[in-house]
Every structure is written in structure tokens, then in C-alpha cells.
Symmetry: C2
Subunit: 192 residues, 2 copies
């Protein structure tokens, strides 16, 4: 998505530890119209499938998941990072490393938030090493529902997580794939 | 909002510790169409004001904040709970007790995510003792921007936080005010 790449070039910041900061439009301050165009692009990538539900993980992917769900006319489910959250009834769980907490956290999903015949699309704003998506896929596999694929706004291609998912057969679409982010310059993987 | 009250009566759960669980439609599994009607009602409450930006706090209020921002045609800002979040540049900060972490957490807002002439509307899904809203108001006061008010989906009226805010002059609108939630029965404060 050219507009997304241009925005990353213009506003993206690269931290000394390699963290890429897109908070000025994607996750902290949110340009709703722009995020909705990203959602529209993602919805179009999966338009050939009978997606029945969006799944995301708190918290930075929630805004994009909500707008994509709205575009597709389906509900969204936000998988919680376990702490004191009260979710009633049966739970699906999965462990994942969290950058936010700098440690493992347990992902929680209420069993009754998925239906047996669901066809689920995973949405997130960022894909790096792919651990969060891997944990969500594990939950969906455990739940026995089918997976439409994974839609991502920005993939850090040089981390390899996206390519590992593609190689394992996951139907993954990322709208911008950052190939390198050195010396403050972003280069992107060419996409069809 | 009658539809919201009906949905709380039907799907709301009251935990032994008094926690009210509305995860089945409001924050965990999200009924986007319904949440958008809530957003539309909140937008209407503040239609007489030149709202320029929505402010919310991660993570359960993000979905409603995004849809309300979309209805009003303005950007949204998600205040972060401080952990390892990278937000560049100057920061506004405020301390608040977090139920999620069962302890104090620091709220972070990038200074450049607000403009001097902003007229900010705070949106959240839930208001209980009002600590989160109080911390957001403190940040906005410190930032020197004007406040349109506070829009809430569900207020726990019996906790008193909403009335304390109203008494202090805050322009607060809650679409459903739970007056009591005993023995599994919800009663609501009548609203004009």
C-alpha cells in the first residue's frame, strides 16, 4: 500500500534498539480516516473468503481490527493478555512473549466468543517475529475453527516472522513490508 | 440508551466481588454494529461542541473511541499505560490506580499528539470510581487544552465516580447508569 509506505517514510522513527515507532498515526495518535483506508485494503485482500469474525490481541491492533470488522460487517474479538481480567466461563489459553511486559504473558479467549463454524481473520497492526500471530493461530487450532488468514498493516520483513508464517502455509497479507530500517531510512519489499 | 440497558440486563454478569462483566458484547467480543450505535449516541450528545479530538485510555475503551472519532470525523489518541512503550519526545504523565495491574500505573501521552487549540472529548466504555477519567482530565489540564466533556457507555452509578465528576463541573454523559446490581438484577438510573 503506497500511501502506508509513504507515511512510514515520513513519520516513522527508528529507535537505537531497532524498535520502529509509528505511534504518530498508527497506534498512539490515530488518524481514523487513514486507518480506515488500511482496513478497506485489508478487507479487500480477504474479500474472496466468507470471513465471519475478526480476531486481534490487545491493545495496539484493536483500532484496525474494529475498522476492518466494520468494513466486512462482522464482529471482532479482542484476545486479552491475562492479568486480572474477568472473562467468564471456559477459556482458550496460549502463552506468548510480550514486548510490552518483557516477559511471558497468557492470552485468554472466552470459548463462547467463537462459533464452531466460524471462519476467522486475524488482524494486527504490526508483525515482527510473529509470536503473537503464532499464539493466536494456536488458539484457533485448539478451538477447531477455520482460519481465513492474517491481515497486517506493517510487517518487519527483516525479522523473518512473516516469511516463516507464509512458509508454513498461512495466508498472510501485509500492506507494507519493511525490508530494512537502517540509518533512519526505510526500504520496502516490492509487492505485486 | 434503552438498547444498551436491555443488553446489559440480558448479557451482563455480576461477579462475586461486584465486578460487572459486559465482555460478551462491549470489550472482549465486540458487536461492531451495536458499538457503532453507542458511538452515534455519544457523538450526538456532544454535537453542539467543536470537538477536534477524542482521547481514551488503553485498552477496553479503544473500540468505542475509534467509532466515536469516526462519527465525529476527528482523530483519536490512545493514552498508554506505561511499561515498555516507546513514545518519542515530550510526554504528559499522570499516575492512576489500575484494576488491571492491581497497582499504580503511569499514563503516558506524547505532547505532540495534542494541539494548543484542541477541544478534546474523553471517551471510555466504563466509568466506575472515575480514577481513569480524573487522570485524563489532569493530563488535559496540564496540556492547557479545552475539554468538551466525557462520554461513557456504562457508568456504575453506585460507585459515585460519575456524580463526583458532575459536581466538579465536568460535562459527563453516560448512556446507561447502573444504579444497583444486586442478586443478579440490574436497575438503571432514569435519564431524560
Amino acid at each position: 500500500m503506497k500511501e502506508l509506505e509513504a507515511r512510514i517514510r515520513k513519520e516513522g522513527r527508528i529507535w537505537p534498539d531497532g524498535m520502529i515507532n509509528l505511534t504518530s498515526f498508527l497506534s498512539h495518535a490515530i488518524d481514523i480516516d487513514f486507518l480506515d483506508r488500511i482496513a478497506q485494503e485489508l478487507a479487500a485482500k480477504f474479500a474472496d473468503q466468507p470471513v465471519s469474525r475478526i480476531l486481534t490481541i490487545e491493545s495496539s491492533g484493536i483500532a484496525l481490527a474494529v475498522l476492518t470488522a466494520q468494513r466486512l460487517g462482522v464482529p471482532a474479538v479482542v484476545v486479552k493478555k491475562a492479568r486480572k481480567d474477568h472473562i467468564e466461563g471456559g477459556l482458550f489459553q496460549s502463552r506468548v512473549y510480550s514486548y510490552t511486559y518483557d516477559g511471558d504473558t497468557t492470552l485468554l479467549l472466552a470459548k463462547d466468543s467463537l462459533m464452531e463454524d466460524d471462519h476467522v481473520l486475524i488482524i494486527d497492526d504490526f508483525l515482527s517475529r510473529g509470536e503473537a500471530v503464532g499464539a493466536l493461530l494456536a488458539i484457533l487450532r485448539h478451538a477447531g475453527v477455520s482460519v481465513a488468514g492474517v491481515g497486517i498493516a506493517v510487517e518487519k520483513g527483516f525479522e523473518g516472522g512473516g516469511d516463516r508464517l507464509r512458509e508454513s502455509g498461512v495466508n498472510l497479507h501485509s500492506l507494507a513490508i519493511i525490508q530494512s530500517a537502517e540509518d533512519g531510512n526505510f526500504t520496502f519489499r516490492p509487492q505485486p
